[in-house]
Assembly symmetry: C2
Homo-oligomer: 123 residues x 2
Amino acid sequence: MFIALSGREGVPVYEEIAGEIKRQLFVGELQYGEELPSVRVLAELLQVNMHTVRHAYLLLEQQGLVTMRVGRGTRIAPRPAKPTPEVKARLLNYWRQLEQEAFLQGMDAEQLLQFIREEGCHA
Amino acid sequence: MFIALSGREGVPVYEEIAGEIKRQLFVGELQYGEELPSVRVLAELLQVNMHTVRHAYLLLEQQGLVTMRVGRGTRIAPRPAKPTPEVKARLLNYWRQLEQEAFLQGMDAEQLLQFIREEGCHA
DNA sequence: TTGATGTTATAATTGTTCTATAACACAAGA
DNA sequence: TCTTGTGTTATAGAACAATTATAACATCAA
């Protein structure tokens, strides 16, 4: 477990922690089912308060990415096979936002998709 | 000019104002080059402080969507023909975030693009 | 029983958001 | 030129969120 806090302003520490864990999970540095450090241990590691880490874990739990149990610790949940309808709605919203942002900057939906096909899929 | 503030918590009022203006510009309710209400007038309209509206306008100015001039007012900038490299980088980042979010919820990049093609483009 | 876990509660500190008020500099029109 | 309407800057305070600090509690495993 290795998390570097950027220390930049404007981004809450608990979001940064949660974001880093999600990134590591995405790129494979963390595995599904793996056990995370306890809130106290990670807090000590990051030189941060216990509740800040807990806040981050709660965020992840709300997204179904993590399960917390008293006395047993916190571990990464198994990856869902399919997104729920709620999640799909959220993703669609997220996409529309991106589409709007791109349009206002001079790039319509067609061009945006082209742009993503060219540079987006890191394959 | 017609802006409805949701009043929901967690979202700063100035972001909501800026977001609404961007949405109206996206859907054509506002036109490029059009003059916006002065900070004082819009503040009165929304029953909000002058500085809150100014904060929203500043946000839009930073994104190149609006120009503010002392004594002359604030108007919507012309739509850029092409996004700048900085904007393209920002959009790509935004996409990668969406891609990651989708993956963690059980939808890989391929499936996400398929999903967007089906439901995304409101055509 | 012991030790580690997450949970809950209370409080203090700091930064952000929003309001309030006032004055200033610039531009347009009478 | 004078007046009015712009955005700009400054200061102050209230309300809220984020972070820290303690402390105690409930649960689980060894």
